[in-house]
């Protein structure tokens, strides 16, 4: 049987992952002949890691998803530096920017999203960005930042969402003086309530980041900075635009595929055209949000199951929303939608500790975590995420759940006098305090004699201090 020809438009994190998942199921291309079309000149890379590249801890080469010979080794027809410009659904043909045409059995949109540049005077010119203005989206953007802004240069970041704050933190770590301009009353307003955002803002200021809230950029003056809507100016050698993205749906819409804030897909990740699928940031599925990589990778696994026939019953049912701010020194996790009013049946716990830059809010329904904000509680956040992802019943000790490891039980601190007689002092040899007391009363009064008599302390030796303390206590009180 002739293999099904699958053409993937887009060689970003979603497209590359889909190719990997297909080849994992069909390593020799017996079931799927694969063509991948990528607009950028270089191979796919891991966008999640761009903050590390900007911060300078990671080489650009380290973020690549595939090695040099990947396409050859995995029988993939990889077309780099070209884009799809025209799509004929009826004939199953897609035309590329280099003039070539590709016929397909199945077409997959993995075109991702593009930065949304606000209509601010001076930011863009001829559809591109002005000199001294960059987005924070591609490896090329990182190179541009590296080229344009020396360490120590002043940088204005437009947008205080996840991407904006990650960029700001990375740039501050690189030694830049960073100001974040954000139109809402608090940063991360999509994810956080006001109290959490205030704690986060303080943590960001600790890292040397300045925040200008409730302000929008009015004008960009090259070489000078950004003029804000209140007339003030943020001096900046470079402006980084992080004001959101929009799904790249232009070609799909032109071809007549249904799109509304993304190419609409069902649980088979199928669009309104039966031979066309979409996944990742360009797609819209009711079970998740865009802008995160986990849904794209979950979708890639399902779509690969379907396209290779490995598991024809595979369906994508959504991905639970977990957002993490990847910013050095700041540990923030949000689960679900923390803006939803909890309602009377909900259990809400809150811990507000601004001085130590900590905030926790936990909402449970039917004993299960439905949303949470965890700032400055990294290990509690890890446990909560686990419960949330797997829909597990939460432990009844809510306080421990909320604070994680912050309250360790320290039994060793118990004084020798306070230990019950049944307390096992030496686990290696099952020696209780009572046994030591008996031995002491029978004449073993030093640590060595107690060890010889009871074997306490002769295993791992970890109880030596306790044995000594008990001997001292007996000597004092006898």
């Amino acid at each position: 049987m002739r293999p099904r020809h699958v053409v993937v438009l887009g060689y970003g994190m979603a497209g590359a992952r889909l190719a990997d998942e297909i080849r994992r199921r069909d390593p020799d291309g017996e079931r799927v002949a694969l063509t991948v079309v990528g607009a950028e000149r270089h191979g796919a890379y891991n966008r999640v890691l761009l903050p590390s590249v900007v911060a300078g801890t990671m080489a650009a080469d380290s973020v690549r998803l595939h090695g040099e010979g990947w396409a050859r080794e995995h029988a993939v027809d990889l077309r780099l530096g070209v884009e799809a410009v025209d799509l004929d659904l009826r004939r199953g043909l897609v035309r590329l920017s280099d003039g070539s045409e590709l016929g397909y059995d199945t077409l997959v949109f993995a075109t991702g999203s593009r930065p949304r540049v606000p209509p601010v005077e001076g930011l863009s010119v001829d559809g591109g960005l002005t000199d001294g203005v960059v987005a924070f989206r591609t490896l090329d953007d990182c190179a541009r930042i590296e080229r344009t802004a020396s360490r120590g240069a002043r940088i204005a970041v437009l947008g205080g969402g996840l991407l904006g704050l990650e960029a700001a933190r990375a740039l501050a770590g690189r030694g830049n003086r960073v100001t974040v301009v954000h139109p809402a009353a608090h940063v991360l307003d999509r994810q956080l309530d006001a109290d959490a955002a205030a704690v986060l803002a303080a943590a960001l200021r600790d890292a040397g980041i300045e925040l200008r809230l409730r302000r929008t950029a009015a004008r960009y003056l090259s070489g000078d900075g950004v003029k804000l809507d209140d007339g003030s100016t943020v001096a900046a050698d470079l402006v980084v635009v992080c004001t959101g993205v929009r799904p790249d749906t232009a070609l799909a819409e032109r071809a007549g595929i249904e799109a509304e804030g993304g190419i609409v897909v069902n649980d088979e990740l199928r669009t309104s055209d039966v031979r066309v699928h979409a996944l990742g940031d360009c797609a819209r599925h009711p079970g998740t949000v865009t802008g995160l990589v986990q849904p794209a990778w979950d979708q890639a696994a399902v779509l690969a199951d379907l396209l290779t026939g490995a598991r024809p019953s595979a369906r994508y049912r959504g991905t639970s929303v977990v957002t993490r701010l990847k910013a050095s020194g700041v540990d923030l996790t949000t689960l679900g939608d923390s803006h939803v009013e909890p309602g009377a049946d909900a259990e809400v716990l809150r811990l507000h500790d601004p001085v130590r830059r900590r905030y926790a809010k936990l909402v449970l329904h039917d004993e299960r975590v439905s949303s949470a904000i965890m700032l400055g509680f990294p290990d509690a956040a890890a446990a909560l995420t686990h419960l949330y992802d797997r829909r597990l019943v939460a432990p009844s000790d809510r306080l421990a759940l909320l604070v994680g490891r912050a309250l360790p039980a320290n039994t060793r601190a118990l004084a020798a006098a306070d230990l019950p007689a049944s307390a096992v002092v030496c686990r290696c040899n099952s020696v209780s305090k009572g046994r030591l007391v008996t031995a002491w009363r029978s004449g073993s009064s030093t640590v060595d004699e107690l060890a010889a008599e009871t074997r306490a302390g002769t295993g791992c030796g970890g109880c030596a201090d306790t044995v000594r303390a008990i001997a001292d206590w007996l000597a004092r009180t006898a």
Binding site: S62, L65, A381, H386, P395, G459, G461
Partner: protein, 694 residues
């Protein structure tokens, strides 16, 4: 019954080592059979409760002192000649009727080097069967495969144990030495006191209690955790690039996989905080001396080899292996787990850690054994596969078991017992009537550690001599006697199967000469003189090799290899029907299948029966309270166990110790999914549910 009284008129003291784990704590045994700890670098004068009470087994009324032969369904005492003749003639019949591979041999990691060697030779030369494997397959085989792959050579610790005492950072992955080899903990004190002891374990074990940082990943996700820490290492600029360039190959491919495992993603897979993953990377990179050590928790998975490889990759990324005062190691479990895997009781190996597939190795061994090369059988199936095939039309019809108790220790154990019951002939050599021996047709009573001479190779690759300290009970013989007795009856020439341990060891030395685990320079005289000999010891004048890899690794190009490994997760994940994950392990008071330790009153009194450790909420949800009997049910079977509520437990995990017999066997529920490379079963993860007992 024969008298157990020692006839020795005056008390003599003999230096020896403990009969249990691979730490081989040094002890002194009196001719009256009393043990006391002895100063030695590995145990530093320490001994755990198992060691202290070990002499109880010497005089236990449970000892077997006469061969047993099954007649009319019952095991009855028989004479040695009668029993040996019977076994030899049945083996001959079975092989005549069904071929040489119709007889299988199953060994153990507790056997001395001499026994392991002679057993392998017996299988290959006297029985000429390819069907031989051993319980080490259920122990450290994954670490062995991963070590070979990375370094070209597998020695549990490629450095003396005492080196650990100088370390600032020790990362222990899936190991619980505070219970399995307590005196080992003495070497971790410096790291623990300095905030550098990291313990990776789903349970808050005694070892985890003493850690500076305890990471509790969901069972079956250790590989992902290692990838996350490797990722942090690179992303935070902590990679030892100079070492990676000079001493390794394959980093780029390994990184390509790890690149997709950033700590926040790994947190969702493992439940271990991203911040903790970064902290481990940071701890290792700032340490002057650091070690990564794995144990059964990392290894006993259907992806055990890859999991160990992932941790080795991390060690390599930080430049640890082969750097003086740093490294990677595996904590071998059984007493002679190290030596037992080197001398030929493994399905694919010949003495000296040689491959049975290697033509040169085959020629060498054929010459040493005085047989033709083509007479040597090829590789056979691994332990579980061997047990699984017993009594089937194509499988073995007879099985000889030495130093093992698969009726308790094998995975999916009810099925294994079912297989054992279909054999035409089951023969064991045993100290006590273990669960496996109780099923046997013939049982040979054999001597144990203090009653015979023999060498053991401890977890650091040091060869130790255990001297005979007490008179064996009348009526028992050594395993070497049993092997030789059968070999002669099967037609082997008189001198081919010596019974004197020193003679066997000399032959082992010659057989291992030139191999990876070269013992040719180790002799009883050097060991008696107290020399610390770590293999390889290449000839009489050779000082041995305490530290491997300091100049180069054992691959032809001298470099260590990164292996690109990816996380796939457990073979049987939890689901709606079986929503919990069961993991199995050990308690301080018992050893392996418990056949030895369960007859010691003091140990039985401390922990006498199986229990199931669960979070109090999980117990409550099953309608159970602490101390009640619960039932742990998997797709393969169920275990009835007393509930032990532990607030530190993960609510999605239950823990069962596997030392107990009958309906208490944890292995009634375990999953025999095998690692493709090491053939290690997945003891550490299977899906279960917890129920009240009706």
């Amino acid at each position: 019954m024969t008298s157990m009284e020692s006839p020795a008129p005056i008390t003599e003291l003999t230096e020896s080592h403990c009969p249990y784990c691979a730490l081989q704590c040094a002890m002194t045994i009196s001719s009256a059979g009393a043990v006391s700890p002895r100063m030695f670098p590995t145990n530093q004068g320490g001994l755990c409760q198992k060691g202290w009470t070990s002499s109880g087994l010497l005089r236990s009324p449970a000892r077997l002192t006469t061969p047993l032969v099954r007649a009319r369904g019952m095991l009855r005492p028989a004479g040695w000649e009668e029993a040996l003749d019977l076994v030899a003639s049945r083996l001959t019949e079975i092989q005549a009727q069904h071929g040489r591979d119709a007889v299988a041999v199953f060994g153990g990691g507790g056997l001395t080097n001499e026994k392991a060697y002679l057993l392998g030779k017996f299988a290959r030369v006297a029985l000429r069967t390819s069907r031989i494997d051993y319980n080490g397959r259920f122990c450290m085989s994954s670490a062995a495969s991963a070590g070979l792959r990375a370094f070209g050579l597998d020695r549990g610790l490629p450095f003396p144990l005492t080196d650990l005492g100088e370390a600032d950072v020790v990362v222990l992955v899936g190991a619980n030495p505070a219970e399995t080899m307590p005196p080992f903990m003495r070497h971790l004190r410096r790291a623990a006191d300095g905030g550098g002891l990291v313990v990776v374990d789903p349970r808050r074990t005694l070892t985890a209690e003493s850690a500076s940082l305890h990471l509790a990943p969901a069972p079956g996700t250790d590989l992902a955790l290692a990838l996350g820490i490797l990722h942090s290492t690179v992303a935070d600029g902590l990679l030892d690039e100079n070492y990676v360039r000079r001493r390794t190959t394959g980093f780029a491919d390994a990184w390509r996989v790890a690149a997709a495992y950033w700590p926040e993603r790994v947190e969702r897979i493992t439940g271990v905080a991203a911040a903790d993953q970064r902290r481990v990377a940071d701890l290792i990179s700032t340490a002057r001396r650091a070690y990564v050590l794995t144990g059964r928790g990392a290894e006993q998975h259907a992806t055990g080899v890859d999991t160990v490889s992932a941790w080795i990759n991390l060690a390599l990324a930080h430049g640890l292996p082969g750097n003086f005062g740093s490294g990677y190691g595996c904590l071998t479990g059984q007493g002679n787990g190290q030596g037992g895997r080197e001398h030929g009781q493994k399905a694919d190996q010949l003495p000296g850690y040689r491959s049975i597939r290697d033509p040169q190795a085959r020629r060498h061994m054929a010459a040493v054994w005085g047989v033709r090369e083509e007479e040597l059988p090829g590789p056979g199936p691994s332990a579980y596969e061997l047990l699984d095939a017993l009594g089937t039309p194509e499988g073995p019809k007879a099985l000889l078991v030495f130093g093992s108790n698969p009726a308790v220790s094998a995975p999916r154990v009810a099925h294994v017992v079912d297989r054992l019951s279909t054999l035409d002939l089951l023969v064991t050599a045993d100290l006590v009537l273990s669960e496996t021996s109780a099923l046997a047709d013939v049982v040979f009573p054999v001597t144990q550690w203090a009653e015979e001479d023999g060498t053991m190779t401890n977890l650091e690759g040091r060869v130790l001599l255990r001297r005979r300290a007490v008179q064996p009970p009348e009526g028992v013989r050594t395993d070497l006697d049993v092997i030789a007795g059968l070999a002669h009856r099967l037609g082997a020439p008189g001198d081919r199967f010596p019974t004197d341990p020193e003679a066997v060891f000399a032959e082992l030395g010659a057989a291992s000469r030139g191999g990876a685990a070269d013992y040719s320079g180790v002799g009883y005289e050097r060991l008696k003189a107290g020399e610390a000999l770590y293999w390889p010891v290449r000839g009489e004048g050779h000082p041995g090799t305490p530290r491997l890899f300091t100049d180069s690794f054992a691959h032809p190009d001298g470099r260590a290899r990164f292996t690109a490994v990816d996380h796939t997760g457990p073979a049987e994940p939890a689901d709606d029907d079986y929503p919990l994950t069961a993991t199995t392990g050990r308690v301080l008071e018992h050893y392996q299948s418990g056949a030895q330790t369960r007859v010691i009153e003091e140990l039985k009194a401390a922990v006498g029966a199986v229990f199931v450790e669960v979070h109090p909420d999980t117990a409550a949800r099953a309608g159970l309270a602490d101390g009640e009997l619960g039932k742990v049910v998997s797709r393969r079977g169920e275990v009835v166990a007393r509930v032990r509520c532990v607030p530190s437990a993960r609510p999605d995990v239950v823990f069962l110790p596997f030392h107990f017999p009958g309906v208490q066997r944890a292995n009634l529920v375990t999953n025999p999914a095998l690692d493709p490379m090491s053939r290690m079963p997945e003891f550490k993860v299977c899906a279960v549910r917890l129920e009240a007992v009706a």
